[in-house]
């Protein structure tokens, strides 16, 4: 009965259905794991008491003959999803103490299907970052350690770093993430787990703290392709409260998982190579292509000519939308309000209160991006920056549309490196290069999944990414399953509970 926290969602559901253990026992093993590995900093707000209470309710429902797709399954929730009655911070000081009086649509769907929430997971502040080092509530540590420097703490990636670290360290069976430019796929790759960014519009954005509204998309992070398929089936769906939610039916994403790749055409984009990319990442990419070929897929080289324009265009679009979205944090309606300066009883003006609150409440990276956004949207620059970036975005989307006339899925590396040390973190624009392979799909709105395919020579997990046609998550998951079967990735992190 030990180590229930290490089960996959599929295995745990089977065990619960057969009565081999209770939801309470399963949840307790996750709560114990969270205690044991609290040094990872994965949770901002753990809610063990609420979790155990929810587990008891799940057990009572099962006893009463009820069942649901996630009944009694303990999950972690990225602290960007509003959860009714539980503090939601977006990892920012400015939302410290904010307790939503409503539940996000995605978490509402998960609760409807019986999930148990273990607490709120750490992230980069307002999901802006690729290393989970911008959280006001502290860094998240990757549970993996390198062979050459086992004492060095590694980043889990970001922005869904707490989600990736917690799933990899077996603190929860699965987690929610959000992906704006790679924030599900890049941390999944760094932590050796599987993460899926669905098509833009597949999961409702309602109740998720907004970063860049034309890019933000929620998705599952778990320890297998099948578990991601199970979670997506619950998270996805039309929601009238999100104006960009798409009204198409949610299929059973697990139904076609075993269908194989025979006869499918897989594209390798020649532009997905960058300077200083380690040879072992190129090798793993080619190996992954060979695994698909061995199972009957046809692998062809393709071109996505605007790949390298995606990152600069992203760093206009995302900050521009962020500066607009984050205008709401002004110290009036919720969250943090600064004190008047120098012991004065009052601010000199309302604007002074806004600016002081925002200056004290936002961290450095968020401030940088808001200022860039305000600048590129300002009079005289809007067309040169924002509209230019949106035109480039059309070209990026067109690249993918044309590619999917030739191929059924696209295979790439997820990241140009394995996880790096928290103290080795690159700065500024170089940091942005982490997302060079994940941003193009975000800009085009197409679905992408990262799964672990092997270890680096230094013993760290490396991910490969599959990209698919809009709303063809089924096809994407089917190829991912074939790759997972062939890769046989069973390595586990050193700091695992």
């Amino acid at each position: 009965m030990t180590e229930l926290n290490r089960l996959t969602i599929a295995a745990a559901s089977a065990g619960l259905a057969k009565g081999e253990f209770s939801a309470r026992e399963l949840t307790q093993s996750c709560v114990d794991a969270m205690d044991e590995r609290s040094d990872l900093g994965a949770f901002i707000t753990p809610t063990p008491d609420l979790a155990l209470e929810a587990a008891d309710q799940a057990d009572a429902k099962r006893k009463g003959g009820e069942d649901a797709p996630l009944l009694g399954i303990p999950l972690g929730i990225k602290d960007l999803f509003c959860t009714e009655g539980v503090q939601t911070t977006a990892a920012s000081k400015i939302l410290q103490g904010f307790v939503p009086t409503y539940e996000s649509s995605v978490t509402t769907n998960l609760l409807r299907d019986g999930a148990v929430f273990l607490g709120k997971l750490n992230l980069d502040e307002f999901a802006m970052g690729s290393s989970n080092t911008t959280s006001y509530y502290g860094n998240v540590v990757n549970p993996w350690q390198s062979a050459s420097k086992p004492d060095m703490q590694l980043v889990p990636g970001g922005s869904s770093g707490g989600s990736a670290s917690a799933v990899a360290a077996r603190l929860c069976l699965g987690a929610t993430g959000t992906d704006t430019g790679g924030s599900i796929r890049q941390p999944a790759a760094f932590c050796g787990i599987t993460g899926l960014k669905p098509t833009y519009g597949r999961c409702s954005r309602w109740g998720i703290v907004a970063f860049a509204s034309s890019l933000d998309q929620a998705g599952p992070m778990a320890r297998s392709v099948e578990d991601c398929a199970i979670l997506l089936g619950s998270m996805a769906g039309f929601d009238a409260k999100d104006t960009t939610s798409v009204d198409t039916p949610v299929p059973d994403y697990t139904a076609e998982l075993g269908a194989g790749v025979k006869g499918l055409k897989i594209g390798l984009p020649r532009e997905y190579r960058v300077d200083r990319m380690p040879a072992e990442i190129e090798q793993l990419w080619q190996q992954s292509a060979q695994w698909l070929r061995d199972q009957g897929a046809e692998v062809v080289e393709i071109s996505l000519p605007h790949t390298h324009s995606a990152l600069p265009a992203y760093y206009i679009v995302a900050p521009a939308e962020a500066s607009s979205n984050l205008a709401r944090y002004d110290g009036v309606r919720y969250g943090f309000r600064a004190d008047a300066p120098d012991g004065l009883p009052e601010f000199s003006s309302l604007e002074d209160m806004y600016a002081t609150t925002r200056g004290e409440g936002f961290g450095a990276e968020v401030q940088r991006r808001i200022m860039i956004g305000a600048y590129v949207l300002s009079a005289g620059y809007y067309d040169a920056y924002y509209n230019k970036a949106r035109r480039v975005r059309s070209l990026i989307a067109r690249d993918f549309t044309e590619a999917f006339e030739q191929v059924d899925a696209i295979l790439t590396p997820t990241t140009p490196s394995a996880a790096f040390g928290i103290t080795e973190e690159p700065s500024g624009v170089e940091m942005y290069m982490n997302d060079v392979f994940t941003v193009p799909a975000s800009m085009a709105g197409i679905p992408g999944i990262s799964l672990p395919a092997g270890l680096s020579s230094d013993g760290l997990p490396l991910g490969v990414q599959l990209l698919g046609r809009p709303f063809d998550e089924e096809g994407l998951l089917r190829v991912a399953q074939a790759l997972e079967d062939a890769a046989g990735f069973t390595a586990t992190p050193q700091l695992m509970a």
Partner: protein, 95 residues
């Protein structure tokens, strides 16, 4: 594009951010680096494409213009840093 201290001050004002004097030179450098990075887009010919408006090609849905929520001041004001009866309270703005 090189960003000056004055441009930093202007962007900070637009963004409603108090920026310490000591940070302005650092920010000017950081913002210049980002804008320098995105300038490579100028080399791309975008004369034959429109700005992308929606990745899913969706048109805005219509709904009835009807009240669907409201009359719940306690839920709305629950997180207010300061309130007076059913109103948000802010610093005095009229002398």
């Amino acid at each position: 594009m090189s960003i000056t201290r004055e441009t930093v001050e202007q962007a900070a004002r637009l963004a409603r951010l108090t920026v310490a004097d000591a940070d302005k030179d650092r920010l000017a450098g950081e913002l210049s680096a980002i804008l320098g990075f995105v300038e490579q887009l100028d080399a791309i010919d975008t004369s034959d494409v429109d700005p992308l408006t929606s990745v899913v090609g969706a048109t805005a849905r219509m709904r009835k213009d009807a009240v669907t929520a409201g009359d719940e001041p306690e839920r709305i004001l629950a997180n207010a840093p300061d309130r007076v009866t059913d109103f948000y309270a802010v610093p005095k703005v009229v002398e």
